[in-house]
C-alpha cells in the first residue's frame, strides 16, 4: 500500500480529532454542556431560539385570517366605510324630515325608491356583501341620478371598489376583519 502524503495524514488526524471532540461532547450531561456553552460566552437558551425546528415538529400556530387583503388596506377600507355609513345616516334623516314636512304624495316616487335602495345598499355594504351593495347602488342611480353625488353614496362606491379590487374577484363577498 502506498504511503500517504503529510497533507493526507494531517487531514486524517484532524478528522479523528474532531470525532473525538464530538464523542467527548456527546458524553457530557445537559448541565455540563450548558455550563460549557456559558463558559464559551453563549447563553444556551438564547442559542436554542435560533435553532431550526426539529423535522416533523408542528408548525407554529398562526391566527387564521379570513381575508387575503393586507391589514393596512383592511383598516383603510374599514375607516372609509365607517365614514360612509355615518354620512348616509345623516342624509337619510334629512330626507326623512323633509318628506314629513312635504304633502304626502301618492304613486311612485323615484327619489323615495332610490333612497330605499340606497339604504339596502348601505346595509349590504355593512355586511361586506359588496356585489349586492353595488347592484343596489346602480339601481338607485337609475332612479335618482343626482343622489349618486351624495357623500354617503360616493364613499360606499369607493369602499366597494376597494374591496373588490383587493380581493381580486368580483364574484365573491369578501369579509371585513372581525366579521
Amino acid at each position: 500500500m502506498s504511503r500517504r502524503s503529510p497533507e493526507q495524514i494531517l487531514s486524517v488526524l484532524e478528522e479523528q480529532a474532531l470525532e473525538d471532540e464530538v464523542r467527548e461532547i456527546a458524553k457530557m450531561s445537559d448541565a455540563d454542556l450548558d455550563n460549557e456553552l456559558r463558559r464559551a460566552g453563549v447563553d444556551p437558551e438564547a442559542a436554542l431560539k435560533s435553532a431550526p425546528p426539529a423535522p416533523g415538529a408542528p408548525l407554529p400556530v398562526a391566527r387564521a385570517s379570513t381575508s387575503r387583503t393586507p391589514p393596512r388596506h383592511r383598516l383603510r377600507r374599514s375607516a372609509a366605510w365607517t365614514g360612509a355609513a355615518a354620512a348616509a345616516a345623516v342624509l337619510v334623516m334629512v330626507f326623512a324630515l323633509k318628506r314629513d314636512e312635504s304633502p304626502v304624495g301618492h304613486g311612485f316616487d323615484p327619489a323615495r325608491e332610490a333612497s330605499k335602495l340606497r339604504d339596502q345598499a348601505f346595509a349590504a355594504c355593512d355586511r361586506a356583501e359588496w356585489e349586492p351593495c353595488r347592484s343596489k347602488l346602480d339601481e338607485a342611480k337609475r332612479l335618482d341620478p343626482p343622489g349618486e353625488q351624495s357623500p354617503g353614496v360616493v364613499l360606499a362606491r369607493r369602499a366597494v371598489e376597494d374591496a373588490l379590487r383587493h380581493d381580486g374577484s368580483t364574484s365573491t363577498n369578501p369579509r371585513l376583519p372581525g366579521q
Binding site: 500517504r4 503529510p6 480529532a17 470525532e19 473525538d20 464530538v22 461532547i25 456527546a26 454542556l33 460549557e36
Partner: protein, 197 residues
C-alpha cells in the same frame, strides 16, 4: 434521515454548537466575539443544510451528529477561504482586468494564487507531521507515534491500529487525545509563525 423529538434535537443543536465553538476557538480577545458569531452561524447553516438535504444514510443519532459537525466544519472552512482569498482575488482580478480586460476563465493571476495556496498548505502539513513525529518520539509516546505511522500506511481504524501496535483500543483512544493536544500546539505555533513572517 432519523427523526428526533424536540428535546433530542435541542440537545444535538447545543452539542454541535459546542463543537463549532471549539473549532473556532481563539485566544485573541478581540476576535472572540467574531469567532463565536461565526460558530453560531455555521451551526445554523449546517442544520438548515441537513433539513434541506435530509441525508438518507444518516440513520442514527451518532451518524447525524457526525454529519452535522462535518457540515459545520465545511461551512467554517468555506467562510475562512472566502474571507482569506477575497482581498487577494480582488487585487489579482483588478490587475488582470487592467491588463487583458474581462475574461470568463480564471486568470493567470488567480491560477498562480491557487497554486501558491496549495503549496503553502502542503508545506504546512509536511512541517506539522515532521514536528509531530519528532516530538512524540522525544516524549517516548510509542503508541501515539505508532498511530501516526499506521495512518501513513493507510490503517485508520482504532481496531486495526490496536492489532498492529499490540495494545487495547482504549489505549489507542487515549493516545489519540495526547496526539491531538500535541498537534494543536504545533499547528498553533506554525500558524503564528506564518502570520509573523
Amino acid at each position: 434521515m432519523i427523526e428526533l423529538g424536540k428535546k433530542e434535537w435541542d440537545r444535538l443543536f447545543k452539542e454541535v454548537l459546542m463543537a463549532a465553538l471549539r473549532l473556532t476557538h481563539t485566544k485573541d480577545e478581540i476576535l472572540k466575539a467574531t469567532h463565536r458569531d461565526r460558530a453560531h452561524e455555521a451551526t445554523q447553516r449546517a442544520f438548515e443544510r441537513c433539513l434541506r438535504i435530509r441525508p438518507a444514510n444518516v440513520d442514527s443519532t451518532e451518524a447525524l451528529r457526525v454529519y452535522l459537525v462535518k457540515a459545520v466544519r465545511s461551512e467554517l472552512s468555506n467562510a475562512y477561504a472566502e474571507q482569506e482569498s477575497r482581498s487577494e482575488r480582488e487585487a489579482a482580478a483588478a490587475i488582470e482586468e487592467a491588463t487583458h480586460g474581462r475574461s470568463a476563465t480564471a486568470s493567470a493571476e488567480v491560477i498562480r494564487l491557487d497554486a501558491v495556496r496549495a503549496q503553502r498548505r502542503s508545506n504546512r502539513a509536511a512541517r506539522a507531521i515532521e514536528k509531530l513525529r519528532r516530538e512524540l518520539a522525544t516524549a517516548g509516546d510509542t503508541i501515539a507515534l505508532g498511530t501516526v505511522e499506521c495512518i501513513a500506511a493507510g490503517q485508520t481504524e482504532p481496531a486495526e491500529q490496536a492489532a498492529v501496535l499490540k495494545c487495547s483500543i482504549e489505549e489507542i483512544y487515549a493516545a489519540r487525545k495526547r496526539r491531538k493536544r500535541m498537534l494543536e500546539k504545533i499547528l498553533e505555533a506554525l500558524d503564528d509563525g506564518e502570520e509573523d513572517a
